[in-house]
C-alpha cells in the first residue's frame, strides 16, 4: 500500500510538472472554457428578440397604426420594411430581410367599428422554427391585449377582462441562458477533460517513455490513477471558473447547493477523464486520440445530452446511446440542482449512472493497457 502511494505520487508529481511547464495545457484547461462559455453563451442564445418584421398596413387608420404600435413596443419585433401588398412579403422572407409580416387588411377599422371580428394576419418564416414558435406565442398575447383594449364591451360580456399571462416554472423569465449554462458547462468540461487525458498516454507511448515506465514495478492501475490526479485538480479549478463565470455573467439563478453542483461536476469530470485515458490507451497515437476524443465526447455532449434536443423525442437507438453516456445524466443533475434547487436524492440516480460509467471504463482502460505496447 505504501508502495502504491509512493508510485502514484511520483506519477502525479511528474504529470503536474508537465502541466505546469506547458502553457498550452493551462490555456486549454482554464482560459478556453471561459472563452467558450462567453462565445457560445452569447452566440447560441435561444432567446428570440428583434425579429425583423415587415408591416403591410392596407387600412392606414389610427386603429391600425395602434395595432402596429402594440406589436413593436416590446423588443420582440423590429420593423424593417413597410409594403402595400401581401405579394411583396415573400421576396423579403426569401432574402432573409424579414422573418415575420403583419398584414392588416383594408376593412380592419370598419369591421372593428361594426362589431364584427376584425382579422389580422401574421405571416411567419417557418424555416426558423424556434423564432416562429416564439413569435406566434407573442402575437397571440399582443392580439389579446389589443382586443381587450379596443373592444371592452364585447369582452366584458364574458366577465372580467382577460389578461394574458405566461408563466414558466423554474425559469421565470424564460431566459435561455438558464438552460444554456448547464448545457455548456457539460460540453466544455467534457471537451477539456477528454482532450487533456486523451493525449497524455498516447504521447508517452509515441515518445517511448511508456516502455521505460513498463520496465519499472509501476502497475497499470498506478499509472492511470497517477495520471488522472493532477488533471482532476486542474479540472476542478476549471469547473469553478465555468460555474462562476456562467452564474455571474448570465445571471443564472442558483436555486440549489453549490457544493452539490461542484460534487456532481467532479464526478462527471472523473468519468470524462477515464474516457479520455481509454481513448489514449486504445489508439496509442496522439493524432488519432485527439480526433476520437473530440468525436466521442463533443457530439454526445451537444446532441445526446438533452442540452439541445430532448432525449424523449429521439428515436430509440439514439435514446439508448444517450442514456449510456454520462452527459445526459450530468445535464439532468446540474439542471435539477441549479434551476430546481433539488437535493442529493434527486440526483442520486444520475450520480450512480456516472459512477458506473467511470468504473467500467477504469476497468477497460487498465485491461487494455496490457496490450498497449506489444
Amino acid at each position: 500500500m505504501k508502495g502504491f502511494l509512493t508510485r502514484v505520487t511520483a506519477i502525479t508529481v511528474k504529470e503536474a510538472a508537465h502541466i505546469l511547464r506547458d502553457p498550452r495545457v493551462m490555456i486549454f484547461a482554464l482560459v478556453l472554457p471561459v472563452l467558450l462559455l462567453l462565445l457560445f453563451g452569447y452566440a447560441i442564445s435561444f432567446d428570440v428578440d428583434h425579429i425583423p418584421l415587415v408591416v403591410v398596413d392596407q387600412d392606414q387608420t389610427n386603429a391600425s397604426r395602434n395595432l402596429v404600435e402594440s406589436f413593436t413596443s416590446g423588443d420582440l419585433f423590429e420593423i424593417k420594411a413597410r409594403r402595400s401588398t401581401v405579394d411583396q412579403v415573400e421576396p423579403l422572407f426569401r432574402s432573409g430581410l424579414a422573418r415575420a409580416a403583419l398584414v392588416i387588411p383594408e376593412e380592419f377599422t370598419r369591421r372593428l367599428a361594426g362589431g364584427r371580428e376584425p382579422s389580422v394576419q401574421l405571416l411567419l418564416d417557418g424555416s426558423d422554427n424556434n423564432t416562429a414558435t416564439v413569435a406566434l406565442g407573442y402575437a397571440g398575447v399582443v392580439a389579446l391585449e389589443v382586443s381587450r383594449r379596443q373592444m371592452p364591451t364585447s369582452l366584458s360580456r364574458e366577465g372580467a377582462p382577460i389578461s394574458a399571462q405566461i408563466r414558466t416554472f423554474f425559469n421565470p423569465g424564460l431566459r435561455s441562458s438558464a438552460f444554456i449554462v448547464p448545457g455548456l458547462t457539460a460540453v466544455i468540461l467534457t471537451m477539456i477533460a477528454t482532450m487533456l487525458t486523451a493525449l497524455t498516454v498516447s504521447r508517452e507511448i509515441e515518445q517511448g517513455s511508456m516502455e521505460q515506465l513498463f520496465t519499472t514495478p509501476v502497475s497499470r492501475l498506478e499509472i492511470v490513477v497517477g495520471k488522472v490526479c493532477p488533471y482532476f485538480l486542474l479540472g476542478l479549478v476549471a469547473v469553478l471558473l465555468v460555474l462562476t463565470a456562467g452564474v455571474a455573467m448570465f445571471s443564472v439563478p442558483v436555486a440549489g447547493s453549490l457544493w452539490l453542483l461542484f460534487g456532481v461536476s467532479a464526478l462527471f469530470l472523473l468519468a470524462m477523464f477515464i474516457q479520455g485515458l481509454f481513448i489514449s490507451v486504445a489508439t496509442r497515437r496522439q493524432a488519432l486520440a485527439s480526433q476520437l476524443a473530440f468525436i466521442t465526447t463533443m457530439l454526445p455532449a451537444l446532441l445526446l445530452s438533452g442540452f439541445v434536443f430532448p432525449i424523449d423525442n429521439m428515436p430509440w437507438p439514439l435514446q439508448f446511446l444517450a442514456r449510456a453516456l454520462p452527459p445526459s445524466y450530468f445535464i439532468h443533475a446540474i439542471r435539477a440542482v441549479l434551476l430546481r434547487g433539488n437535493g442529493v436524492e434527486a440526483i442520486l440516480r444520475d450520480s450512480l449512472a456516472i459512477l458506473l460509467f467511470f468504473g467500467v471504463f477504469l476497468l477497460l482502460t487498465v485491461r487494455r493497457f496490457r496490450r498497449a505496447l506489444n
Partner: protein, 316 residues
Amino acid sequence: MNRPAISVDGLTRRFGRFVAVDGVSFEVSKGEIFGYLGANGAGKSTTIRMLCGLLRPSAGRAVVNGHDVVKHTWEVKRSIGYMSQKFSLYLDLTVQENLQFFAGAYGLRGQLLSQRLEHALELALLTDRRNVLTGALPGGIRQRLALASALLHQPPIVFLDEPTAGVSPDARRAFWRTIRQLAHEGTTLFVTTHTLDEAEHCHRVGLMAEGRLVALDTPAELKRRHVPGALFTLHPAGGRSKELLAKLRQLEGVLEAQPFGHRLHLRIAAERDEAWLASLLEQVGFGEVGFDRTEPTLEDVFLQVAKEGAAATEGR
C-alpha cells in the same frame, strides 16, 4: 550459489510471419559484461525487450535473475534496470525531476530516495546542473543520465540497448569505464552495440545475424576460432599490389589475402612466422615489400562469420 544471471533457451519472437529472433540460447553469469553485437535489424532490441518483460516471446524460455520473464514478469521488473535505444527520459522535466520520478516509480522514498538521488547525480556528473531541463543537455550527458536513472534502485542486472549511439569518443570511453566499474561491483550488464570496437570491452560477445545467434565467446576466443593464423599488413609500392595479390593467393600456407586501400591484409597459418613470410615475398619477387604483424579485430571475426553464414545458407 552459481545460478546464471540470465538464461535463455530457444527464445523466439515472430512479428506476423517475420522471425525477428530465431531460437536464441545463451547464459550470462553474474558480474559479466555481455556484449550483444549485430547489424541494424539483427534482433538485438527485440531480444532485450523480451528479457525485460516488455514483449512476449513467441517460443522458448528466458529466466532473468531466477525469474521466468513470462510467468514472473513482476519479479523480473524488480531485478532489472533498462536503458532503451531511444532516449526516453522526459525532455521537459529537469534532471532532478526525472531522477525523482524514476526513483518513485521504483518505490524509493524518504532518505533512501535522497541518498540514491545524490548518488545518481554524481554518476551522471550533473550534481551542479540538477535543475537544468533535460532537453537542454547534449546527447552524451543525456545518455549518462539515462544510465544513472536505470541504476537508481541498484538492480543486479542492467540492460543497455545501444547506450553509446551518437556519443562522442571521449564520452564513450567514460561510459565504458562506468560499465566496467559496475561489473566490478557485481552488476551483470547486457549491452547491445553495433560498433565492433566497443565489443572488445565485453567479457563475452554474442554475434547476432538475422535473428540468429551465430557466434558466442570471449573476444579472444572468437578471434582465435574464426580468424586463426597470423595477420600481417603489407605495404606494396604503388601499382604492383594487384600483381602481388594474385601471386599470394596461389601460395600454399596463405589462408586469406585481401586488398585494404593501398595495403594488403594477409592471413597465414598460425605455425608460420615473419621469417617465413619474408622468404615467401623474396621468392615471388617482392622482397622489397615491407610488412607489420597486426592483431585480428572483431571486425575480422564479423566478416568471417558473415562469410561462413552465407556459405552455410548456400549449402542448404
